[in-house]
């Protein structure tokens, strides 16, 4: 994994987007750093990992937090990780909506504005979704969509 620390302005920009879209405060990333890798990938790592990432050229470090293309696409892992700090563009799913997303990858909702959204069931953030009109598509990776019967 070839990666470098985000520059100060890149980090500021990322934090601003996360705050404006989801209400996530910068403090949620206290003691952590963002590293950018190929294909717009951004990893969240502990501060203390950084020198090891620089010297060892590892396969991976921390977890994939987002992809930066024209817009910022937060990963499911990131939204789950800071779920309790998310205040806007949250969609509260019913059990039926959760199951639709888990099985068919799509459901409907009128909450939130178009773009990436944080999907919740009860107070648990289940990951990232994409909203367009009333359609919601799950961005939870297929490998993580295991059958859930207790929720």
């Amino acid at each position: 994994m070839n990666s470098t620390l985000l520059s100060k302005t890149e980090k500021q920009d990322l934090l601003t987007q996360l705050r404006e879209r989801f209400g996530i405060p910068a403090a949620a990333f206290h003691n952590k750093e963002f590293m950018k890798a190929s294909k717009g990938r951004i990893f969240l790592v502990s501060e203390e990992s950084v020198p090891f990432i620089d010297s060892l050229n590892p396969r991976a470090a921390g977890f994939l937090a987002a992809r930066m293309h024209k817009t910022l696409k937060p990963s499911t892992n990131l939204l789950q990780f800071v779920g309790n700090t998310i205040t806007t563009n949250k969609i509260a799913l019913t059990e039926a909506q959760f199951q639709d997303l888990n099985k068919w990858a799509e459901t409907e909702s009128t909450e939130a504005t178009d773009g990436y959204v944080a999907l919740f069931y009860r107070d648990i953030c289940i990951g990232c979704g994409l909203k367009k009109g009333t359609s919601i598509k799950t961005m939870v990776p297929k490998g993580k969509r295991i059958p859930v019967t207790f929720l």
């Binding site: 003691n31 952590k32 969240l44 790592v45 502990s46 203390e48 990992s49 090891f52 990432i53 010297s55 060892l56 590892p58 396969r59 991976a60 470090a61 921390g62 977890f63 994939l64 892992n77 789950q80 990780f81 959760f98 069931y121 009860r122 648990i124 953030c125 289940i126 990951g127 490998g143 993580k144 295991i146 059958p147 859930v148 019967t149 207790f150 929720l151």
Partner: protein, 302 residues
């Protein structure tokens, strides 16, 4: 379950209560899990699981570990979101044996995939510091990465080197070698282990383990600790490996205790080979603890 004859002979002569031992190996393993405090709250999850109708029991030696009376824990939203991690109880012991040492903030986990102990150590470190999580098997490092991501672990750097020859710019204060082994201790979960079992396999793995522990010790900083563990019973893979290190270096063993867990000390000799330094090692027997079998030795480098 049919045990190979040499397996029966071997453990009839080694185990304190062979009848109970063989009976335990044929009894299904309890379903256990640990709460991942990086994502979930212990009390809330316990309450929720009880609302699902699961019978949940605490484990006296680890506040985040629980036993469930149903395998349905794998079909919960808490599992979906990485708030719990399904893990056999005995496999949770190695990170706990170095719990106080993890305060140094640096752990080298030499054989880390699929990451049960890496992610547990990350929880014990509160996601701070750094864990160098290595495994020589490229495919298994993918499973390691998956688990790290799902558990929300940020303090891990994953590498793919052969731990026998790995060199690092500086040694680590804490090293975990959860060694590849013949896995006899996991027969309850995976009876297929018996099909691969042979005295010869034990000898081959033991040779590999001796090479691994030698380099693991080289990578341990003076004053640091090396935790050696396996999920097997064979003395050649346990006391034999650690005794060789004690015989060829200045290393010493430290005693480890787990509250209310009935462990046994390392054995003193096997087939004519004495293990004089191994009484501080720990054996976990399925018929004593109702878990998988495990071996742990906490080694201090002066």
């Amino acid at each position: 379950m049919t045990f190979p004859k040499p397996f029966i002979e071997r453990y009839n002569s080694l185990v304190d209560d062979p009848e109970a031992f063989f009976r335990a190996l044929e009894t299904p393993l309890p379903k256990s899990f640990r709460v991942n405090p990086l994502k979930g709250n212990r009390n809330q999850i316990r309450t929720q699981f009880e609302q699902y109708g699961f019978g949940i029991t605490s484990v006296p030696w680890y506040e985040d570990a629980f036993v469930s009376d149903t395998p349905n824990i794998g079909a919960t939203i808490e599992h979906f979101t990485g708030q719990i991690y399904i893990q056999e109880l005995a496999s949770m012991l190695p990170p706990l044996a170095i719990r106080n040492d993890l305060k140094y903030g640096k752990l080298l986990d030499l054989a880390a995939a699929p990451g049960s102990k890496t992610t547990q150590a990350a929880c014990l470190m509160n996601n701070r510091g750094v864990i160098l999580a290595n495994d020589s098997d490229y495919l298994r490092t993918s499973a390691l990465r998956f688990n790290i991501e799902k558990q929300g672990v940020v303090n891990t750097v994953v590498t793919n080197f052969d731990a026998r020859t790995l060199r690092l710019p500086e040694p680590f204060p804490v090293v975990l070698l959860d060694a590849p082994c013949s896995s006899e201790g996991t027969i309850r979960k995976n009876p297929a282990v018996l099909r691969q079992w042979s005295e010869r396999l034990i000898q081959t793995v033991s040779t590999l383990q001796k090479q691994l522990i030698t380099n693991a010790y080289n990578l341990t900083a003076p004053g640091g600790v090396l935790l050696y563990s396996t999920c097997t019973f064979a003395p050649e893979e346990n006391e034999g490996v650690v005794q060789q290190l004690l015989d060829t270096t200045e290393a010493t063993l430290e005693r480890v205790r787990f509250q209310s867990l009935q462990t046994s000390p390392g054995i003193e000799a096997w087939r004519g080979t004495p293990f004089p330094g191994l009484k501080h090692a720990i054996r976990v027997w399925p018929h004593r603890t109702n878990t998988d079998g495990f071996f742990l030795a906490k080694i201090r480098k002066p």
